[in-house]
C-alpha cells in the first residue's frame, strides 16, 4: 500500500528485469560472446610470498592457437590501489599471495589457454610467509611491501611492521573512567576470512575498436572504477576507454573493481586484447575466485568495558587488528570502520580504540557487504551479553539502559537527529518472545538445549561519494533513466524506477533504467555502500523534477497557467483542480524538439549539502535489532536456528519488498558466516577449501524463515526519507546467534565460525560435554 501522499512510492511492483531473468535470457556478463573472441586466462602465483626471479614465456608463445602472452614487462610501469598505490596488475618482482596474477594468455580455446599457462616458466625465490595479522605486525615478521611507509599517525614508540593504516578513536578519559567502574569485562573476539561467493563468476571482455579505443565489458559493481583502472594501467586517457556494464549475478562488494585493488581482471583482459589485436574474454572459475578475488577480512578484536552497578557503561578500551591481505585494497577503510564501530552505538562517554590494518600473504580485503561492521558487532554485541551476565541484568534491559537518544552523540556520529534503536530493540524482543515486566525482559520458556539471543546493529551512514542521474522524457512520454549504478537485485531496478514514475506522473512500466555505459552515464562510485537509493535515488528525484519543470514550462503557455499550477497524472499534463485543461505529456515531449531540443533532466546527489545537513541537524542512522532462538546439540555442537526475527529502521521504504529482500539476504549471508563459512589456509598460505565442496554456504535446509519487521518514523538522508538497506542486516546475526548459544549452554564462543567443531570445543573446554 502506498503512503497516502504518494502514487507509487511505498508499493512493491514487479522488479524491472524480472521477466528476462525467469525465462533465462543471456543477460549476464558470463553470457556474453564477442565476435572472433579469444579466450583469456591468468597464471597465478604458486607461492604466497616470493621474489620473482624470472619468467620465461617463450614456450607458451610458440604453442599453436596462442595469440598473446603478457607479463608485467608488457604493461606500463604503473601501479594501482586504494589507500596506497601498491599493486601491479601483473606481479612485478614479487608475489604476495597465492592468487596474485603473474601472467596472462589469450588463445583460441580454453583448452589451449590451459596448456599455454602450464608452459609459462616462472622461477620464484620463496620468502617466509605470514598468515596471521598479529604475527605480521611483529617487528620480526617478513616485510611484505618494502617501499610502503608505515602510517604517519602511528602512536609514538609503537614498533610494528606491515601496518597499512592506523586509526584511533578517543573520547574522554577512558583509563580514569575504567578505574572507577564497578564491573569490568575484558574479552577477545576473532572472525575469519569469508568470500562473498556471488554465484555468477567474474568476467571481463575487451576489444580494440577501429578507432583504437578500448571497449571493456564487465560484470563489475563500479564501471567507472574499471574505466579508471584500465586507463591508468594501460596508460591511456579516460575518453579512450569505454566500459559497458552487463547484468550482474550478485556482487556483494566482491565485484567492486576500481573501489579496491581487487582483481584487476579488466585491465589484464584489455592488455591481452591490445596485444592479440582481437577481442578477448576472461571467465574466472569459482575456485579461482575464492583464492584470488576480494574478500571479507578477518579481525581480531580486544574489547574491555567498564560499567556501573546500575548498568551504565562508563568506559571502553580496545584494539582491532584487521587483516588487509596482500595489498592495501579496501583494508584501511574497512579496518577504520571496524575500529569506530568497536566503540559501539551506545552512549560511550569514555573510549579509546586502536585500530591496525595489517598486510598478510592472503587475499585482499574488499568492500564486502558492510565492511568492518559485522566483525565489530560480533565483538560488541557478544560482549554486551557478557557484561549483562556479570551484572545480573537481562540483555534487553541492559541494552536499553545505554541507548542514545535524539541529540546525543555516539562514536563516529557527533550528533543524532533521531534514534530508532530503542524501538528496534523492544520490537525484536517482543517478536522473539520476551515479556516486558517493568524494566526487565523475561525470556520465554524454551526446550532443552535451546537458547535465545539478541543483538543490535548500526551502520554508520554518512555522506559518501556522490553520483548523478539523467532522466530523459522521450517523445511518446516514456522515460529513460541513466544512473551510474548497476543492478544486481538492488535499488537501480527496484526503487529507482518508482522515483522517476512518481515525480513524472507516469506508470512504472513506462520507465526504463538503462545499464551503465561510461561514455553516456553520469559518474558514480558504484553500487556499493548501501548508497544506491540515497545517491542515485536523490539524483533521480532531482533529475525527474528538473525534467518535469522543463515540461511544465513548455506546457504552461499552452494551458494558460503558471508552471506552478500544473501536475502530471495518467500521462496528461493538466492544471491542478481543473483536469479538463490538459495536454498529453507526449505532445509536450514531442514539441520539445522545437523548443529546447529534448527534455533531459539532470540531478546529482550533493555530498557537501548532505554533510552540512548532518552537521546541523544530526544523523539518523539505520539501526537494527535481530533476535533468534537456537537449539544446540550438546554431543556434536551442531546449532539449529529455530526462529529468527530482524527488525530494521530503513527510513521510508520506497520499494518494501526490495528492502525486505536485502534484509533477508544480508541476514542469510551473516548466518553463513556465523555457522559454516570460512576460508581455510595451510601454513604456506594455500587456500584449502576453494571450491563449493568445502567452502560451505548456507543451504535452504539450515536457514530459518527470516521474519522482517520495519519500524517507521525515522526519516533518513535519502529521497523521501529513505535509508540504505543493502548491508546493515549483515551486522547483527553472528552475535545474535552467539548470544543464543551462550543462553542455551552457558558457553561463550569467541571465535567464528560457530561451527559444530568450535561449539563442541567450547562446550568441552567448559566441562559441558
Amino acid at each position: 500500500m502506498a503512503k497516502a501522499e504518494y502514487t507509487v512510492l511505498g508499493t512493491s511492483p514487479a522488479r524491472m528485469g524480472g521477466v528476462e531473468r525467469v525465462i533465462g535470457k543471456g543477460i549476464y556478463g558470463i553470457d556474453l560472446a564477442l565476435k572472433d573472441e579469444l579466450h583469456g586466462g591468468i597464471l597465478r602465483s604458486q607461492y604466497a610470498h616470493a621474489k620473482i626471479v624470472s619468467i620465461d614465456t617463450s614456450e607458451a608463445r610458440k604453442l599453436p592457437g596462442v595469440h598473446a602472452v603478457v607479463t608485467a614487462v608488457d604493461a606500463p610501469d604503473v601501479r594501482y590501489g586504494r589507500t596506497y598505490i601498491d599493486r601491479y596488475m601483473l606481479a612485478k618482482n614479487k608475489v604476495r599471495y597465492m592468487g596474485d596474477p603473474v601472467a596472462a594468455v589469450a588463445a583460441d580455446s580454453p583448452a589451449i589457454v590451459k596448456q599455454a599457462l602450464k608452459k609459462i616458466k616462472v622461477v620464484y625465490e620463496p620468502l617466509p610467509v605470514v598468515i596471521d595479522q598479529e604475527e605480521a605486525m611483529k617487528p620480526e615478521a617478513p616485510t611484505l611491501h618494502d617501499d610502503m611507509p608505515l602510517p604517519k599517525n602511528l602512536p609514538e614508540g609503537v614498533k610494528v611492521k606491515n601496518v597499512c593504516s592506523y586509526t584511533v578513536v578517543h573520547v574522554g578519559d577512558p583509563d580514569k573512567a575504567m578505574a572507577e567502574a564497578d564491573v569490568v569485562v575484558d574479552e577477545v573476539y576473532e572472525t575469519k576470512m569469508i568470500h562473498p561467493q556471488y554465484l555468477e563468476p567474474r568476467i571481463a571482455a575487451a576489444q580494440v575498436e577501429p578507432d583504437g579505443r578500448i571497449t571493456v565489458w564487465a560484470n563489475a559493481q563500479a564501471p567507472f572504477g574499471v574505466r579508471t583502472d584500465v586507463a591508468r594501467l594501460l596508460g591511456v586517457p579516460l575518453n579512450r576507454v569505454r566500459v559497458l556494464s552487463t547484468e550482474l549475478g550478485g556482487g556483494f562488494g566482491g565485484k567492486a573493481s576500481g573501489i579496491t585493488s581487487g582483481a584487476a581482471i579488466e585491465p589484464i583482459c584489455a592488455l591481452l586484447a591490445v596485444k592479440a589485436t582481437r577481442p578477448v574474454m576472461i571467465v574466472l572459475d569459482k575456485a579461482e575466485e575464492t583464492i584470488s578475488t576480494t574478500i571479507r577480512s578477518g579481525a581480531k578484536m580486544y574489547i574491555k568495558t567498564g560499567v556501573k552497578k546500575d548498568g551504565t557503561i562508563v568506559a571502553r578500551t580496545g584494539k582491532v587488528v584487521y587483516d588487509a591481505g596482500a595489498y592495501s585494497g579496501f583494508g584501511a577503510m574497512a579496518g577504520a570502520r571496524c575500529t569506530n564501530m568497536l566503540g559501539g552505538w551506545y552512549l560511550m562517554p569514555n573510549c579509546h580504540i586502536d585500530g591496525y590494518v595489517v598486510y598478510t600473504n592472503k587475499q585482499v580485503c574488499g568492500p564486502v557487504r558492510g565492511p568492518g561492521g559485522p566483525q565489530a558487532a560480533f565483538a560488541v554485541e557478544s560482549h554486551m551479553d557478557s557484561l549483562a551476565a556479570k551484572l545480573g541484568m537481562d540483555p534487553v534491559e541492559f541494552r536499553l539502559k545505554n541507548t542514545p537518544k535524539a541529540g546525543d552523540k555516539i562514536v563516529g556520529v557527533p550528533k543524532l537527529r533521531d534514534v530508532s534503536l530503542d524501538e528496534t530493540i523492544t520490537t525484536a524482543a517482543e517478536k522473539i518472545g520476551f515479556k516486558q515486566v517493568g524494566a526487565q525482559f523475561i525470556a520465554p520458556a524454551l526446550g532443552k538445549n535451546q537458547g535465545i539471543g539478541i543483538a543490535t546493529g548500526s551502520w554508520i551512514e554518512s555522506a559518501g561519494p556522490g553520483g548523478g542521474a539523467v532522466v530523459k522524457v522521450n517523445e511518446d512520454g516514456s522515460v529513460t533513466v541513466h544512473i551510474g549504478k548497476i543492478d544486481m537485485g538492488t535499488a537501480p531496478r527496484f526503487g529507482i524506477p518508482l522515483i522517476a514514475a512518481e515525480e513524472l506522473g507516469v506508470p512504472v512500466s513506462d520507465v526504463t533504467v538503462v545499464n551503465v555505459d561510461t561514455d553516456a552515464s553520469p559518474w558514480d562510485a558504484g553500487t556499493v555502500g548501501s548508497r544506491a537509493i540515497i545517491v542515485s535515488g536523490t539524483a533521480t528525484k532531482l533529475a525527474a523534477i528538473d525534467a518535469r519543470n522543463q515540461l511544465f514550462k513548455m506546457a504552461a503557455s499552452q494551458l494558460e497557467a503558471s508552471p506552478d499550477d500544473l501536475e502530471i497524472k495518467d500521462k496528461q499534463i493538466r492544471v491542478k483542480g481543473t483536469p479538463s485543461k490538459s495536454v498529453a505529456l507526449a505532445t509536450i515531449a514531442t514539441n520539445a524538439h522545437n523548443v529546447i531540443g529534448e527534455v533531459i533532466g539532470r540531478g546529482y546527489c550533493d555530498n557537501l549539502a548532505m554533510m552540512a545537513e548532518e552537521k546541523a541537524h544530526g544523523n539518523s542512522p539505520p539501526f537494527t535489532t535481530h533476535a533468534c532462538i537456537v537449539e544446540v546439540s550438546p554431543d556434536t555442537g551442531n546449532v539449529k536456528i529455530l526462529k529468527y526475527v530482524a527488525v530494521h529502521d530503513v527510513g521510508f521504504p520506497i520499494h518494501p519488498v526490495a528492502v525486505e529482500g536485502q534484509i533477508e539476504g544480508a541476514t542469510a549471508m551473516s548466518i553463513g558466516q556465523a555457522l559454516c563459512e570460512q576460508v581455510v589456509f595451510d601454513n604456506n598460505g594455500r587456500t584449502m577449501n576453494p571450491s563449493f565442496v568445502d567452502y560451505l554456504m548456507p543451504t535452504i535446509n539450515m536457514m530459518p524463515r527470516i521474519e522482517t519487521t520495519l519500524v517507521h518514523g525515522y526519516p533518513g538522508a535519502g529521497p523521501y526519507g529513505a535509508k540504505g538497506a543493502g548491508e546493515i542486516a549483515c551486522v547483527p546475526p553472528m552475535a545474535a546467534i552467539a548470544n543464543a548459544i551462550y543462553n542455551a549452554t552457558g558457553v561463550r564462543i569467541h571465535k567464528l565460525p560457530l561451527s559444530p567443531e568450535n561449539v563442541l570445543r567450547g562446550l568441552k573446554a567448559a566441562g559441558k560435554a
Binding site: 514487479a14 525467469v22 533465462g24 535470457k25 543471456g26 533477508e664 524463515r705
Partner: protein
C-alpha cells in the same frame, strides 16, 4: 574426437557435435546457445545448472553431453507458453524472489518438477527438491513464498 549429439531440447530435435569431455552444460550454453542454464560452481554443488533430463532434475555441469543422445531435455527456455509465463516463473517474480536472478532458472526448474509431482508440498518436500540449489541474494525466505504461491495457483487455491 567429435561425437554427434542428437537430442531433444524443449521439444525440438537438435543435432550438434561435442567432445567426449564436453559437459551437457557447456553443450547447452556454448554450442547450442541456450544461455538460460547457468554456469556457477561447475562441480555439481550449487544447482545453478539444473535442467530436466528425462523427467528428472539433474546438474548439467557434471553430466556428459554424450549422455544427452536420445534424451528429452527441458531447460528454463522451455517453460513459458509463448508470452504466458509458467506459474512458477510468475510466482518468483510476484513474491520478490528474483534479486540478481542468477540462481533463478535452476530454482524454477527444480520447483516445477516438485509441483508437477504435488501441489501440496510439505516443508520436507521443498527441502528435498531445492536443497541442492544455492541462492546468495534472497536468504531463501521469498523463494519459499514463491514455491507456496505457485503451488496454490497451480492447485487453483489462489
Amino acid at each position: 574426437m567429435s561425437l554427434t549429439i542428437n537430442t531433444t531440447i524443449n521439444g525440438t530435435p537438435v543435432s550438434a557435435s561435442a567432445e567426449p569431455s564436453t559437459s551437457l552444460l557447456e553443450f547447452l550454453r556454448d554450442t547450442l546457445e541456450y544461455k538460460g542454464t547457468k554456469l556457477c560452481c561447475n562441480t555439481g554443488e550449487c544447482g545453478a545448472c539444473t535442467i530436466i533430463f528425462n523427467g528428472k532434475p539433474i546438474n548439467s555441469c557434471v553430466t556428459m553431453a554424450a549422455d544427452a543422445i536420445g534424451a528429452q531435455i527441458t531447460t528454463i527456455e522451455g517453460l513459458a507458453d509463448g508470452d504466458t509465463l509458467h506459474p512458477v516463473q510468475q510466482a518468483f517474480i510476484d513474491t520478490g524472489a528474483v534479486q540478481c536472478g542468477y540462481c533463478t532458472p535452476g530454482y524454477i526448474i527444480s520447483v516445477k518438477v516438485l509441483l508437477d509431482r504435488t501441489t501440496k508440498p510439505t516443508a520436507e518436500d521443498i527441502e528435498e527438491a531445492v536443497s541442492g540449489n544455492i541462492c546468495r541474494c534472497t536468504g531463501y525466505t521469498k523463494i519459499v513464498d514463491a514455491i507456496q504461491l505457485a503451488a496454490d495457483r497451480m492447485a487453483g487455491r489462489s
